[in-house]
């Protein structure tokens, strides 16, 4: 009787894991294949652009009629619907934006007199303009960050725009309108793998001792075997597709160069018009270059497969080991409780976990303002950001004799943040405790008024307080310096060196922080029974001893949670740093959070800032675990 549910669970687990992992792998693999296919299409048609483009430019320069050339090209090349020479004119003189020539496959004639653009042909102008803009951007910046060959995938057509160089400047574009190529069919081979896997396991289960441990191991190993086979075959076909396409391009290039004095290897270019190097001068395929080109997507694909496979394997073990059925049983039993918590769970998922997951994903890319629009796969860099944040130990830079601290370094900022947190919390607790003790004095008159006054710093929005303090530290007119001068001192330039600048933010934040501590501690003090003090007095304890042995230990359960909270707040106290000293001088007073903000919103390095934030999260997470233990300890003591 026991055999049945065991093998059933293992089989079910395997089926789910196989379906899930193969479905997602198949999906991602087909996304990659589509992406590669689109690239290959552009590369194939670029061959024509590379041949026809210079010919058109020459015709224009020699003021020859474009008609014979374009018509002949249309006749000899299958698949092109129209060829347009889309003109643009540079500023100044915005007039005379004209299409230079246009041909249509339906008419085989077309118009070869320049004519104005209309509403319907605006897209041609936009294409031509973007080509020209991209070329000039790359040239000025001396980079390749914008595509020279711009593609526009429409429902039925693919439009490709190539720059036309006249005297080395782009003043028009060649736009080919092509019938949209059919993407490769995504085969459903994964079902075959699922079937094979299940069949194999079903047979194997007959021979395996029906202990849970063994069934789980058997199911897992079949899973790994099947997924492994699937991955290998996918990689193989991926590579095959690239080589097929490359050899197709080779024959295309050879065809185009047959009667012309052009080198075939120069015709295969990427979207930046850089030679791909896939063809050797001997007109054979350069397998190495193709493999290099494929290395990046292949590695990414492999990582995805490993990730999906790993997660599915966990899933399998989860089901096969019987943990899944136990979980479901619990969910059923407490379904009322879960349904109550549902709105919160959904809210948290949308508002917290999605952005959080997105942030983590972003941190593994090199996304910045300029490459945001690229597909994720081209921005993926793995742990690069983390390596450059955590692996940079150049905290101290030696410049000849002089030593200087590199304030932009992560470890400096981290140390500073810790120092900032510790000092702040220490002084807040100290001042809060003193004031709480004072307010707790029996028979103190006007206690209510004092309490309200002392809570005020907390009640005022902290950015207002921060800006007021900033004004108070002004060198010439600030009240702090005027006080110093009143007593015969010299005015201090508060924001000029690391220490004094730190003093300004410390004072501001302690000012903001002590009322909270005071309120919490006052509550704690009032809950201490006066009997204990009475008993202590009878035993002859002095004031200090009473404080040391009664007040402090009794306050411990109050202080520790307050300190824990306050540490997290202070660690991430953005407003005070950002508003009071702005991290000056030279970024030395920056805390981790303000630094991440600057990286993200001043330097536009979004991914780097995301990685920074993940590191901050990790630090606070570790702290959270630590504080959990501490608070448990206090609970035990209390």
């Amino acid at each position: 009787m026991l055999r049945q549910p065991l093998s059933k669970q293992a089989l079910f687990g395997l089926a789910v894991a196989l379906l899930v992992s193969l479905f997602f792998s198949q999906w991602i693999a087909s996304e990659y294949r589509q992406q590669q296919f689109a690239k290959q299409q552009i590369q194939q048609w670029s061959i024509q652009g590379q041949v026809l483009g210079p010919m058109i430019s020459q015709h224009i320069q020699e003021k020859k009629n474009l008609q014979p050339l374009l018509v002949k090209w249309l006749e000899t090349h299958v698949g092109i619907q129209s060829i347009t020479v889309a003109g643009i004119k540079k500023m100044p003189g915005y007039r005379s934006k004209r299409i230079v020539a246009h041909t249509d496959i339906m008419q085989k004639s077309g118009e070869f007199q320049p004519k104005r653009y209309s509403k319907d042909t605006r897209y041609l102008y936009d294409l031509a303009k973007s080509v020209a803009r991209h070329v000039s951007t790359n040239r000025t910046e001396n980079t390749f960050r914008k595509a020279h060959i711009v593609s526009n995938w429409e429902e039925k057509t693919l439009q490709l725009a190539f720059p036309l160089y006249l005297k080395n400047k782009v003043s028009a574009a060649l736009v080919l309108k092509i019938e949209r190529p059919k993407p490769p069919k995504s085969d459903i081979q994964f079902l075959a793998y699922v079937g094979t896997g299940l069949g194999l396991l079903a047979i194997a289960l007959l021979f395996i001792p029906q202990k849970r441990r063994y069934t789980v191991i058997a199911a897992s190993s079949f899973f790994i075997l099947v997924v492994g086979l699937y991955s290998i075959s996918t990689f193989h076909r991926f590579e095959q597709q690239a080589i097929d396409s490359a050899s197709h391009m080779l024959s295309l290039a050879q065809h185009e160069t047959k009667d012309r004095a052009i080198a075939a290897e120069s015709l295969l270019v990427d979207i930046y018009e850089r030679p791909l190097g896939w063809i050797t001068p001997e007109l054979t395929l350069n397998q190495h270059a193709i493999q290099d080109y494929l290395a990046r997507p292949m590695t990414q694909l492999r990582n995805f497969f490993v990730l999906i496979g790993g997660l599915s394997l966990l899933f399998l073990v989860f089901i096969a080991s019987g943990a899944a059925s136990r979980t479901i049983a619990t969910l059923k039993e407490h379904r009322q409780a879960y349904s109550y918590a549902m709105p919160a769970i959904i809210g948290m998922t949308i508002l917290v976990f999605f952005p959080f997951a997105y942030g983590i994903m972003l941190s593994f890319t090199d996304t910045n303002l300029f490459n945001e629009s690229l597909p994720l796969s081209e921005r993926w860099i793995g742990f690069g950001n983390y390596v450059s944040i955590l692996g940079d130990f150049n905290v101290v830079a030696a410049d000849g004799e002089a030593w200087s601290v590199n304030y932009q370094n992560f470890y400096w900022t981290l140390l500073f943040t810790i120092f900032w947190t510790v000092t702040n919390v220490f002084f807040s607790v100290l001042i809060g405790l003193i004031l709480a003790l004072a307010l707790n004095t029996e028979g103190l008159k006007g206690k209510a008024i004092y309490r309200v006054l002392l809570i005020l710093p907390w009640a005022i929005p902290n950015y207002i307080t921060a800006l007021i303090w900033k004004g108070m530290f002004h060198q010439q007119f600030g009240v702090v310096n005027q006080l110093i001068q009143l007593f015969g001192g010299n005015a201090v330039a508060w924001f000029d060196n690391v220490g004094s600048s730190f003093m300004t933010v410390l004072m501001t934040n302690v000012w903001l922080g002590f009322p909270f501590m005071m309120v919490v501690l006052l509550g704690g003090l009032q809950s201490i029974s006066s009997d204990m003090y009475e008993a202590a007095r009878i035993d002859g304890a002095n004031r200090w001893q009473q404080f040391r042995y009664i007040t402090l230990p009794s306050l411990k359960p109050t202080i520790i949670p307050a300190v824990i909270l306050s540490v997290v707040w202070t660690f991430n106290m953005f407003n005070v740093i950002y508003l009071v000293n702005q991290g000056e001088p030279a970024g030395s007073n920056e805390i981790l959070l303000t630094q991440a903000y600057k990286i993200g919103f001043e330097k536009y390095q979004y991914a780097y800032a995301a990685a920074y934030s993940v590191v901050i999260f990790a630090i606070l997470f570790i702290y959270g675990i630590f504080q959990n233990k501490v608070s448990k300890a206090t609970e035990a003591n209390a």
Binding site: R145, F370, Q476, A493, Q605
Partner: protein, 409 residues
Amino acid sequence: MLQKSFKKTTLALSLSMMAFSAVLQAADDQLILWHSYRGAEKSSLEKVVQQYNQDMAGKGVKIKPLAVPHDAYADKITAAVPRGKGPDVFIFSQDRLGGWIESGIIQSIDFFIEDETLENVDEKLVSALTYQDTIYGIPLNFKSTALIYNKKLIKTPPKTDKELITLAKKHTNKAAGQFGLAYKYNKFYFHVPIMNAFGGRVFDEKSNPVLNSKENKASLSYMMDWYENGQFLPEEPSDALITSLFNKSKAAMVISGPWFLGEVKDDIDVGIAPLPTITKTGKPMEPWLSVEGAYISTKSKYQEKAFNFIQYLTTKDVGLTMALEGGQLPANRTVYEDIRVLNNPILKGFYDQMKTATPMPNRAEMTIVWSHTPTALNKIVKKTTTIDKAMDQAQQFALKDIQVLRKSQ
């Protein structure tokens, strides 16, 4: 009988015509316009929009203005437009232009622009809204700093830096907290006029940063000469400080922009003049010009209609309303031929300053310049390091950050 039925038919026809036109009316394309104006600026813009809606009544277009708070404006545009939730047309100054273009938020309007579209607008203002040889917006208004002075203290504004220094020294009495000139010389934006007078700049033709060029350094040492030897500038100048000094007649001259005037007390007689010429280079101090443009969102479904509207915003009548009622400085130069505008010393003063001003770079990389120059300027003013070292370091940091952004694919 026949007549009766004819009447009926006409009635039915006219009724159905009315119903049809009502349907047409209801089908007005509504264009959302975002701006961040308040007070008089807001009401003058709304008036202009209302006028447009009246003129276009029955032509299927309706503009709906929406004021968005200035602090949240840029973030809202960045977040809303890519998701198709943003406005069709929006108004903002050019400093965020580069970033928005790079992230595909602003539609190029090159296609719509004809020679005559911008013939009444200074080329300089158009170039402020031009990015990579492409026009992205229509200039509406501009702002720049100029010399703002207290007419009671300064009879004739200085034409050259020598006159400026003499006047400034005359009105300085440090013991009494009186200063001849107050401006935020430790902020890069306010140092720019001197930098430009020395032929300095932030980006070269290749759009690489050139913060440590010898012109920039020379301009900084000139500024330090004012600060150290002139002794007519207050320490650690801030907005609040400069405003309070000027309002107490304790600062005779101030370098600031139109936004400063809102803070000035009514009993102060304010004069505005172009910044003086630096004798050493023979060039005037050229402040940076911020141009407020009207842009079309790439996600707008009514781009052509949107263009017609923003084109309307540059007409003379609109400019006059914005200048006389909103107190703004319209980009249309024919506005300044109007006698009412010419008689307004504030409008006239800032318009004169515009002639020598230079548009502020609209590249996205400007934020990197903004993030590294404060440290350098602070160090220079506090003399914790030399001008050479401070600027070389700022240049080195800026170059590194920019190269990270612009890596090749």
